[in-house]
């Protein structure tokens, strides 16, 4: 595995692309070895907010040494990030985690809300055939950026565009025939995706979230429950930060 590092990055571009949703390009050498589905940790400034914020890599431009994140204001840290202007230096660490597998199978790539950003780099780098299903509450963001990489179907909860409902409703229509599912989004969505994949007897890889402290596998804050005992921990827990964030849904204990 490539090594992680913590270094100073520089904000190259910051844009509000939706309500409370921001897209930021950061100049950092971490871009050199990041894979789709991996994430970086960003350290808010000052010691009142001690812990690093995990944010997925949305795109990486290895040539120019930049990577992009897309994030929603959720609290103090992300609020602070949204106020950075071009030229601001920030502490970043990464790349962290395993990332999505790049297979040669036909994939259904499924994203819900703020789980959509990491799927863009995935859509770009995934070699096999792929179809995208994206779900939003109402307002859409980033959906057009997926168009160069395959078909994109949309669901919105308020019915403002695409199917009124969620991504599971689109799946249940049964028109998508993939050999594997790659998904990122809220927990209930991932749980639904896991159940669907089980029914269809295809593998699903899901990207999970949990509160973190170290972000590098040492503190055991970020575990998710698994069905089987894990060889590292000797208990049915795996660390989302380094063993994940992407897991084979069939192995996760969603109960």
């Amino acid at each position: 595995m490539e090594t992680k590092r913590k270094e100073k990055g520089r904000v190259i571009e910051q844009k509000e692309i939706g309500k409370n949703i921001y897209s930021m390009w950061i100049e950092t050498t971490i871009s050199g070895n990041g894979r789709p589905g991996q994430f970086i940790a960003i350290y808010p400034k000052g010691e009142s907010t001690l812990l690093p914020r995990p944010i997925s890599i949305c795109e990486s431009d290895k040539k120019r040494g930049r990577l992009r994140i897309v994030y929603r204001i959720a609290g103090k840290g992300t609020k602070e990030f949204s106020q950075y202007e071009e030229g601001e230096t920030i502490d970043v660490m990464g790349p962290i985690g395993n990332g999505f597998p790049l297979l040669d199978k036909k994939a259904i790539i499924i994203g819900g809300g703020i789980g959509i950003p990491p799927l863009l780099e995935l859509a770009k780098e995934y070699k096999g055939k792929k179809e995208m299903i994206l779900g939003f509450k109402g307002e859409r963001f980033m959906d057009k950026e997926f168009l160069p990489y395959g078909s994109v179907e949309i669901a919105t909860e308020n019915g403002s565009s695409g199917l009124k409902g969620n991504v599971l409703d689109i799946l249940e229509k049964g028109e998508h025939r993939g050999e594997v599912i790659l998904a990122c989004g809220p927990y209930p969505m991932l749980k639904g995706v896991a159940a669907y994949a089980k029914k269809r007897k295809i593998p699903a890889y899901v990207s999970l979230e949990e509160k973190m402290a170290c972000g590098i596998g040492a503190c055991l804050a970020c575990v998710c429950k698994m069905k089987e005992k894990d060889s590292h921990s000797q208990v049915p827990n795996r660390r989302i930060c380094v063993d994940g964030p992407v897991f084979l849904a069939q192995e996760v204990d969603f109960s």
Partner: protein, 300 residues
Amino acid sequence: MNKKVIIGGVELKNPILTASGTFGSGMEYNEFVDLNCLGGVITKGVSNVPWQGNDVPRVTETYGGMLNAIGLQNPGMEVFIKRDLPFLKQYDTKIIVNVCGRTEEDYIEVVERLGDEEVDMLEINVSCPNVKEGGIAFGQNPCSLEKITRKVKEKAKQPIIMKLSPNVTDITEMARAAESGGADGVSLINTITGMKIDIHKRKFALANKTGGLSGPAIKPIALRMVYQVCQSISLPVIGMGGIMNGEDAVEFFLAGARAVAVGTANFHDPYALIKVRKGIENYMEKYGIEDIHDLIGKVQ
């Protein structure tokens, strides 16, 4: 410049240690910190059998600190001995194993099993606020603390450090109990029990409801307790609680700590231990201090 200190007969090449539970067994932080630069590594708590720990969320941030309720998840002593110990032995640093248990017998089992291993010291955690039985129950009553200290000391082949809980009315009473029980040193403070509520979800921020507060927010309390303990017993003291940089560490030395441990700061900056070490050196240089002992307990 002399930075060597001796605790329980063990010489540390410098007085900088990792606080238990924040550094695993060093494997992960090794990417950032050269373990050879540390006086010693205090490991995550090790129990006789694997422990699953608490439900998530296990951590939450608070102003200038954090709450944790990991619940001492660990793979158990056999895996620790087979996997983590050989890793640590590659480095020129002292190995201090933090021991946890639910019952007296649990502690003894681990202590005896580690007896013939190349471990330099044992830190006995009788102060974890996040597990139901054992742990803190031993550390909140001076009689039980003295008793378990004596039992552990009888069986231990390595020097033992008793890790004290701040969740008591009089910390000096606990320190004296550890001393009468025959401990070779004490370390403090473990985390302070706290709580956080998410007002938007109207739920506890931690699955365990309560958790242990650590980080810079607890430093004044930790420093006060270290000072009081140093005044009341003659054992060496390892001080910790909110140390973020060299200046913080120097405060603990001045209060009487013979060594310091750095915990939560590692999460804020994986290079924190190096920063603390450099900061102590800079301070000693600036004030022309040749020997770290000229700082220890020298507050006026």
